[in-house]
């Protein structure tokens, strides 16, 4: 069994529900999450903290915490069902076909191994290189993510590099085997705005050069707007709306999306018109969670919002809204 890079779509998540068993109860982290990414497409997963963005990414990578349990759904990547596939096959897929850039490069990199060695490790495991070729290829990768003086830097340890440089190393690691899908989990959080621009441009450039699909996970709607074709908005473990970027901003259909856009400061926003979203995420440990988890914060809520099923309004053109009373 192997991955078919030409599968359409490349990644399809359907009806995925995940819960975490904790001492204080079962947390229903994801509820019927579904979306698809085609080859070469860039998709953003946007939402507040705790909305389940990272859990979705970790589920694709198969690196969920031991307390997590997938209660329903499927994750099909390149024709393979990742949730049931053998461990041996999964090991071949991760790193080679799907790669992830973690939020904090300082904790994700091995602190006691030179960065060149860390890249060579991945190449030796997944790329068809010999032990003699690996160091040179690692230096080549460092050059590709524009680390100045890559030959000397290959021997550096993560603590010797700045945050932006470490994130470049993370990108080099992720892209070492030219994966078909790149998951970038908040790749620029904690970086400066100028560095953020450089890193995001680099990801976009390398992705388009290799026709790689990208899933960008971010809480920053403006960042998603700038780099992605499609945007999926998440709230409390549910995807509330998926739409091509232009349509999402021109005419958001889910009340939460509209609020999120109004709450994001832009070029022309004034303080008195900047919106806040009342309330917070519901307690996901509750047994009686309403069908629409946004209903308690929503101005348009009615009694039908509380009972399942949550309607899905499709609009052809790749738009999907999960709401009883869309705008």
């Amino acid at each position: 069994m192997s991955v078919d890079r030409r599968a359409v779509p490349l990644l399809a998540i359907e009806d995925l529900s995940i819960e975490f068993r904790t001492r204080s109860g079962v947390v229903q982290a994801l509820d019927s999450v579904g979306f698809a990414i085609k080859r070469g497409e860039t998709m953003a997963l946007v939402g507040e903290s705790g909305s389940g963005k990272s859990v979705t990414a970790y589920a694709v990578m198969g690196i969920l915490d031991a307390a997590a349990r997938v209660t329903q759904g499927s994750i099909v990547f390149g024709g393979l069902e990742l949730l049931t596939v053998e461990r041996k096959v999964l090991d071949e897929v991760r790193g080679r076909e799907v790669a992830i850039i973690f939020q904090n490069p300082r904790t994700a990199l091995n602190p006691i191994r030179p960065i060149g060695r860390q890249i060579a490790d991945i190449l030796l495991r997944h790329g068809n290189v010999t032990a003699a070729q690996a160091p040179a290829r690692a230096i080549e990768m460092l050059a590709r993510v524009r680390i100045p003086d890559p030959k000397r830097r290959a021997a550096a340890y993560p603590f010797e590099l700045s945050g932006g440089m470490c994130q470049r190393v993370m990108i080099a690691l992720a892209l070492a085997c030219e994966p078909a899908l790149l998951i970038a989990d908040e790749p620029t959080t904690g970086l400066d705005i100028t560095t953020q621009a450089v890193i995001m441009d680099l990801i976009a450039e390398l992705a388009s050069a290799h026709n790689m699909a990208t899933l960008l996970i971010t809480h920053d709607l403006a960042l998603a707007a700038e780099y992605c074709d499609h945007i999926a908005v998440m709230h409390a473990g549910q995807i509330v709306e998926i739409a091509p970027k232009q349509q999402l901003f021109a005419s958001p259909r889910h009340p939460y999306t509209a609020k999120l856009i109004a709450a994001t400061p832009g070029d022309t926003t004034r303080l008195d018109t900047l919106a806040a979203i009342p309330g917070g995420l519901p307690d996901l440990r509750r047994v009686d969670l309403p069908a629409c988890r946004y209903s308690a914060r929503c101005e348009r809520q009615s009694d039908d919002c509380l009972v399942p099923p949550l309607p899905r309004h499709g609009h052809g053109d790749g738009r999907l809204v999960m709401c009883q009373h869309p705008l």
Partner: protein, 350 residues
């Protein structure tokens, strides 16, 4: 701001000695120039934004102004009094401590996890305002009300509060002792976008009601634009540009400011990516920098020969706008038309 400024700083420097041991001998001392000759003013009732990338000296400058650390050189005058010469240790016990207060970056990290919200707010009141008993309780409840914190939450510990509520405790604690200058270090960076607006509006409201002045440190330029009257752009220990916020945003003058503003992502405007100005490479080393080279030299896309032989001084290029760059000399003549209008608007409002 026609009256004397509340805070007046000039020639402020903070050097950290770098002692590198070589065998049993100490190597010749070199020093890290964290803040290198900064001058600024903050008027009464003014909100000044301080922006710049990490490592540029923002935090050191803020700590100097809050008198948590001692400057190596320069003067800090607050409400007419020279406070720069008072050792930080003694300043913490003096009555002026209450006049300059700080709201720290991440409320989760800056609140004592073993203190209830009440105790967190009461602590500075006990120490600085010498309040006890019912007077103390009344004042804590009053500032909780001012910051929109429900009084029934005062008995809770930080882990029992939401991000927005913790931010309110951090603000309540700072304004409790009736400061005149509030230093806000990235007050919303740890908050979700859904509560960001509420906290920003609360800060604006408090400023109006209590007549505070703010120094607002942030790297979210979209937030700075919302709240600030004037902004200071800092790079490698130097202020490289200052001016009315709207004017600087409309027409940045220093190459670093231009690059910074062009990097701000904006909603539904993917055109910014094409016209982005990039700064290649990394900032110069802040250790023993050459005093005759512009700090941006090496990354600047407009560098000339003059940039590596003379350090550009901060000078007025347009009314109320200062830039430390050799280049704006070419366009120093105030241009008529749009870029200047916001300046006039701000001046009138102030």
């Amino acid at each position: 701001m026609l009256t004397a400024p509340l805070l007046e700083v000039s020639g402020l420097r903070k050097l950290y000695p770098m002692v590198a041991a070589k065998g049993w001998r100490r190597a010749p001392a070199s020093s890290l120039h964290a803040v290198d000759g900064v001058g600024l003013t903050i008027g009464k009732g003014e909100t000044v934004g301080l922006v710049g990338e990490s490592g540029c000296g923002k935090s050191t400058l803020v700590r100097l102004l809050a008198r948590l650390i001692d400057p190596s050189a320069g003067t800090i005058r607050f409400a007419g009094a020279d406070i720069g010469t008072v050792p930080a240790r003694r300043f913490g016990r003096g009555k002026e401590r209450a006049h300059i207060q700080m709201v720290f970056q991440d409320a989760t990290d800056s609140l004592n996890p073993r203190f209830t919200a009440f105790r967190a707010i009461a602590d500075p009141l006990r120490r600085l305002s010498r309040l006890t008993g019912t007077a103390l309780r009344a004042r804590v409840e009053e500032v909780a009300r001012l910051t929109g914190l429900p009084p029934e939450l005062l008995g809770r510990f930080p882990h029992q509060l939401s991000g927005g509520q913790k931010a309110r405790v951090g603000i309540a604690r700072a304004i409790a002792v009736e400061p005149r200058l509030l230093i806000l270090d990235e007050p919303t960076s740890a908050l979700d976008v859904s509560v960001q607006a509420v906290i920003l509006q609360l800060l604006e409201d408090l400023k109006q009601r209590l007549g505070l002045s703010y120094l607002f440190v942030s790297h979210d330029l979209n937030v700075v634009r919302l709240l600030c009257d004037r902004i200071l752009v800092m790079y490698l220990g130097h202020i490289v540009e200052s001016g009315p916020a709207e004017a600087v945003f409309a027409a940045p003058s220093h190459p670093y400011t231009k690059a910074l503003l062009s990097a701000v992502p904006s909603l539904g405007n993917s055109a910014t990516r094409e016209r982005r100005l990039k700064l290649p490479g990394e900032p110069r080393s802040p250790i023993d920098p050459d005093p005759n080279v512009c700090p941006l030299y090496g990354r600047c896309f407009q560098a000339t020969d003059a940039c590596k032989t003379t350090m550009p001084a901060l000078r007025e290029v347009m009314p109320a706008r200062h830039v430390a760059c050799h280049l704006p000399a070419l366009e120093a003549v105030p241009r008529a038309g749009p870029p200047l209008e916001p300046v006039a608007a701000v001046a009138l409002r102030g």
